[in-house]
């Protein structure tokens, strides 16, 4: 692939060079160039469940829903990472949301349309209060504490037999049809995707990103970074808690294993695979990982081994993430130019 006497040159496409900050679209092709990458995935998200229905793949519809759920967690992770907080315990948000919705439905018989919002807000509040004391920690240390939190909850529930203990709370109200569930989660996914992208681009989002880059400079600017971080955790936790509440109603049971390690690892892996900082990368990552994991189910226990190896290869071989790679390829082109021989 390396040509003798040539070297590769990488150029931005003209439209990209013009479009980075100021829009000067001059033809429908340029408009398409800008719009397609944004519209196509949304269209795909909305159409895929229909396609799956038509082709009779009921099971893959469920996989699709699972992918959306994980994707919410992954986007929450990405949002939190944009303030420099690396969470390894998305299962905490997921689990708290799931248990609140489960308990409200199981003990108080609240209907779904009440339990999910209450679980989303209440779960976010509880998680924020839990994480607030350790907000000063940075890097992998914050990650390790968040990793320990869900396991801690798991043991607490096991020890105190709270909410059904090891048996869980079975027989929760399920969604009336699969379509309600599907489009509810797709809607949540799209709202999160666009809201997060929007927030990050505002001045407020700038402060968020600034905290990750250099929190000293932000503090010297008189901004209370801890309060901003708390807000970020709240938003991330709300996304996670919604996912949890949704999931417990979707499968109709909530048990201790909502705090399982998989729920923490999957979102992180998805973001790393898809590429962080853009939210779209997180979504792309989950929509690769989750179906891949389902596909590998046929290999039994080997599935996890293959799956984690694929993850390792991607992390090691493509550190920027797939989304950034695709984005670069879309906006740039390579060409070979001759290398002038040295005299």
């Amino acid at each position: 692939m390396v040509k003798e006497g040539y070297r590769k040159e990488r150029l931005d496409r003209g439209i990209k060079a013009r479009c980075d900050s100021i829009f000067m679209l001059t033809s429908y092709r340029e408009i398409l160039y800008m719009l397609l990458p944004r519209v196509l995935p949304i269209a795909a998200l909305i159409i895929i469940p229909l396609v799956l229905e038509v082709s009779g793949q009921v099971y893959w519809q469920k996989v699709f829903i699972l992918a959306c759920v994980i994707s919410l967690l992954a986007m929450g992770w990405d949002y939190l990472a944009s303030v420099g907080l690396v969470s390894l315990g998305q299962a905490l948000f997921f689990g708290v949301g799931a248990y609140i919705a489960g308990a409200l439905n199981h003990y108080l018989k609240w209907p779904i349309f009440l339990t999910i919002p209450v679980a989303t807000l209440g779960g976010a509040l509880i998680c924020t209060l839990l994480l607030a004391p350790i907000i000063r920690m940075r890097g992998i240390y914050f990650g390790m504490v968040t990793l320990a939190f869900p396991l801690f909850f798991n043991r607490i529930i096991e020890a105190t037999k709270l909410c059904g203990g090891t048996e869980g709370l079975p027989g929760l109200t399920q969604f009336p049809t699969i379509w309600v569930a599907t489009y509810l989660i797709i809607g949540a996914l799209l709202i999160c995707l666009f809201a997060f992208r929007r927030i990050i681009d505002t001045d407020y989002g700038m402060v968020l990103r600034g905290i990750r880059d250099n929190d000293r400079a932000i503090m010297a600017s008189g901004i209370n970074i801890y309060w901003v971080k708390v807000q970020a955790i709240f938003i991330c936790a709300a996304a996670g808690a919604f996912a949890g509440a949704f999931m417990s109603h979707h499968i109709g049971i909530v048990g201790m294993s909502v705090f399982a390690l998989d729920m923490s690892i999957m979102p992180v892996a998805a973001v790393v695979l898809g590429g962080g900082g853009t939210f779209a990368g997180a979504t792309l990552g989950t929509f690769i990982l989750v179906p891949l994991s389902e596909f590998l189910r046929a290999y039994g226990t080997l599935r996890i081994a293959i799956y984690s190896l694929v993850m390792v290869v991607c992390v090691v071989g493509l550190p920027e993430g797939i989304f950034h790679y695709l984005q670069r390829k879309y906006h740039q082109f390579d060409r070979w130019v001759t290398v002038e021989a040295k005299e």
Partner: protein
């Protein structure tokens, strides 16, 4: 008395488990999440060499440690080198490798209760009215020996000094002609070998099981986090604290809460002193 002896045994187990992980982190700043995988892989390698190939026990212990050290070394060049500095990628990549090893072994058929390593000594003794099997006493011995050995190693040998150099200031070490990549790879190798030693010391108390790998990682992390990941003294102290806390809870409360105590300790210690009891990461201490 029971509390004293079994607390000590428990602490020793935790210390032996954690020391490999903490060594690697202390030298190269790598949290090797594949540790659990190496731990179990080493145990099975030793089992295979000993029972299937019929090698002498000591030889198979040494061979399996050497094999895993080599694997750790290769693992550094293949994986860690490419993601150095990106903490999250490091954690995910190594964790992925660890899971892959464990689940591959499970798929290969290493399930069930056939796999057992002999203890170093049989029989049991009575100390102050409490029966302890000799093997557990040996674990205490191994833990002590390891700590002393590590201290001597890091203070009086050339590689050990290089380790310490890299641990303290990587750039200065580079300018002094220490190859920091080589040293880091060595540290991963060394950590893995210690992991195998830990497995061979601890697992004869039960049987070799895949899930023990996950436990080993969790406990090693717990001890490391409480004590400060890079400090040998911290590991020692943290395993004593956790070991006695667990045993006390088990004896006077319910066994139920053993794990809760461990995880609670992590959360509290990290919230109060983020670098652990004996950690020295200055950047974590600064109020920024």
């Amino acid at each position: 008395m029971e509390l004293l002896i079994y607390g000590l045994v428990n602490s020793a187990i935790l210390a032996v488990m954690a020391i490999g992980l903490s060594l690697t982190f202390g030298v190269s700043g790598i949290a090797n999440f594949a540790y659990g995988g190496f731990y179990i892989l080493g145990a099975y390698t030793c089992w295979g060499l000993f029972t299937q190939l019929g090698l002498p026990y000591l030889l198979s212990v040494i061979l399996s440690m050497a094999a895993l050290a080599a694997l750790g070394f290769i693992f550094y060049w293949l994986v860690f080198l490419r993601v150095r500095g990106m903490e999250i990628s490091e954690a995910i990549a190594s964790f992925g490798v660890g899971i892959a090893i464990l689940e591959f072994l499970r798929w290969w058929g290493f399930i069930g209760f056939y796999y057992n390593l002999p203890g170093f000594l049989k029989g049991s003794v009575e100390i102050g009215g409490v029966f302890v099997d000799c093997h557990r006493l040996i674990i205490i011995g191994v833990a002590l020996a390891l700590v002393i050995f590590l201290w001597l190693f890091s203070h009086y040998t050339k590689i050990g000094l290089a380790f310490r150099g890299v641990a303290q200031e990587e750039r200065t070490a580079l300018s002094l002609g220490i190859n920091s990549d080589f040293t880091a790879a060595l540290s991963v190798a060394f950590g893995s070998a210690l992991g195998v030693l830990a497995a061979i010391t601890i697992l004869p108390t039960g049987t070799i099981l895949i899930d023990k790998g996950y436990d080993a990682l969790l406990f090693a992390l717990a001890v490391g986090l409480v004590g400060g990941l890079e400090s040998t003294l911290g590991v020692l102290l943290a395993s004593l604290i956790l070991g006695f806390a667990q045993t006390a809870v088990a004896v006077y409360g319910a066994t139920h809460w053993m794990m809760v105590v461990t995880l609670g300790a992590i959360i509290i210690v990290l919230a109060v002193k983020p670098s652990g009891l004996f950690g020295k990461s200055k950047e974590l201490e600064e109020r920024v």
